[in-house]
């Protein structure tokens, strides 16, 4: 018999995991929407964020929260580099940037994964920070302080991205380019630089999500692939084009994973998720939150 305790535990766990995955997917959804590029290397860049956090902590004792200040600019610059050296030259030579970008970014994903193996070896790595042994109590349920920290980071980051896209001129320009490229050009928007900023923002948010994930789970250079599957699920469920959609998509996926494991064996959870994905694609191919 299931107790209320187990269900509550599943619910809370689902919200935590879901919001972190939402942050992981936000940038992926952004570059897909704005530039029609499917960046299969997105999760690999998140993993770079994880390893930066691990390395800074182990070598210099840098607190994971402080390492955000390092991750964001490094990943932002990697994003600009990806745009200027990979996507832009390819987009000029092909009419089908979506397919080309999948092949291209899959190669990039392989490169990043192998570099991580070379530098960090393929062992499981766990972050031991000063939060690791603390926990936080919601009624009878205790949650690891690391999870609370990563939830807070994820929520603030999603809030920052939402604010940027909806309240600043540059952010609105990102949405404008997304909705009508020609209209954006004619309004005086420099599509080139707006796109570059989109990539920077996308990878920076991935890096921060990687930090959140390494706070909660152990990582290996090969884990990015399983993250990528969640990213796809959430981006498609949430529909491209809205941070709110991605957040709800993340919560749905997080709750299914977390609550599902209360009811059914963990091995079947991915089965449930992908049946759900197929159903969503058949019933509402534009995602649950797109008109």
């Amino acid at each position: 018999m299931l107790s209320g305790y187990e269900i509550a535990h599943g619910l809370i766990g689902g919200i935590f995991v879901g919001l972190v995955y939402a942050l992981l997917s936000a940038g992926f959804s952004l570059t897909w929407g704005v530039t029609r590029v499917i960046n299969l290397a997105h999760a690999a860049f998140a993993l770079i964020g994880s390893y930066i956090t691990l390395t800074l902590l182990e070598l210099a004792g840098v607190d994971p929260l402080i390492s955000i200040l390092f991750i964001v600019p490094v990943l932002f610059i990697l994003g600009l580099g990806m745009h200027y050296f990979m996507i832009k030259p390819t987009a000029k030579r092909t009419k089908d940037i979506t397919s080309a970008s999948m092949v291209l970014s899959f190669g990039l994903y392989m490169i990043v994964e192998n570099l991580l193996v070379v530098i960090f070896k393929s062992d499981d790595r766990v972050l031991h920070s000063r939060y690791s042994d603390l926990s936080f109590h919601i009624g009878p349920i205790s949650v690891a302080m690391t999870s609370v920290t990563s939830l807070a980071i994820a929520v603030v980051s999603l809030g920052v991205i939402y604010f940027f896209l909806n309240r600043t001129y540059t952010g609105k320009a990102v949405r404008a380019v997304w909705q009508d490229m020609d209209g954006a050009m004619l309004s005086g928007i420099n599509v080139e630089s707006v796109t570059a900023i989109t990539y920077g923002l996308s990878l920076a948010s991935a890096g921060v999500a990687g930090l959140c994930l390494v706070l909660m789970y152990s990582v290996t250079p090969y884990i990015a692939f399983s993250w990528l599957i969640y990213i796809f699920l959430i981006a498609i469920m949430g529909g491209l084009g809205s941070i709110v959609g991605v957040t709800v998509g993340g919560l749905i996926v997080g709750l299914i994973v977390s609550l599902g494991s209360v009811f059914i064996p963990f091995a079947y959870i991915n089965l449930v998720l992908f049946v759900l994905l197929i159903v969503v694609l058949i019933v509402k191919p534009t995602g649950l939150f797109r008109r």
Partner: protein, 234 residues
Amino acid sequence: MLELKSIDVFYGHLQAIWDVSISVKSNEFISILGSNGAGKTTLLNTIVGLNKAAAGSIEYKGIRIDNLPPYKICAMGLILIPEGRKIFPMMSMLENLQMGAYLPGPRKTVKQNLDKVYAIYPILKKRAGQLAGTLSGGEQQMLAIGRGIMSNPELLMLDEPTLGLSPKLALEMLSSLKNLHTQGMTLVLVSQETMQCLQLAERAYVLENGRVALEGQCSTLLADDKVRKSYMGI
């Protein structure tokens, strides 16, 4: 103000514009006429930098603009209201107007320009918070023109602004353009509504298969037998 000298434009290997020369003086109201596929839209898109001319030159206020990207041309006050409106459907009406003022210059005059747009199209003020994609066709066209006005245009080009509008709305739209011209705006109007355009504008060019077939004062063209037969069915 605007000077096109013998420009050629290609789509891939297909030539769409042949040796077209057009000149627009300050405060003029010019109309470019022609049937479907005559090259009117291609010509306008080339002027604002969405297409590139393969030969010839385009000068605006004495500066070569044929190699500038669209946002730089926009910054000089040469604005196109495109065919099909090209508004941002998932953004609110107000956000659409704000995007017209994206560049640093226009951003300083957002408030004055908003008042100006609302004075021309009062209905837009009531729709400020509504998603642009849910506006009616006429409102979307007003929004597209409003977005252009937010960019501080000195030369405003409009591509088929009456397309898909009811005859009554189309007339209102054209008379709002007349007002803009009286207030000192230089206008280039592209349309298939030959009769109305010739009555509104001062000078006109007629395009046929990507070439200038006729040009002159509208009053002269209105009296021209060939124009009356080919474009007005009289």
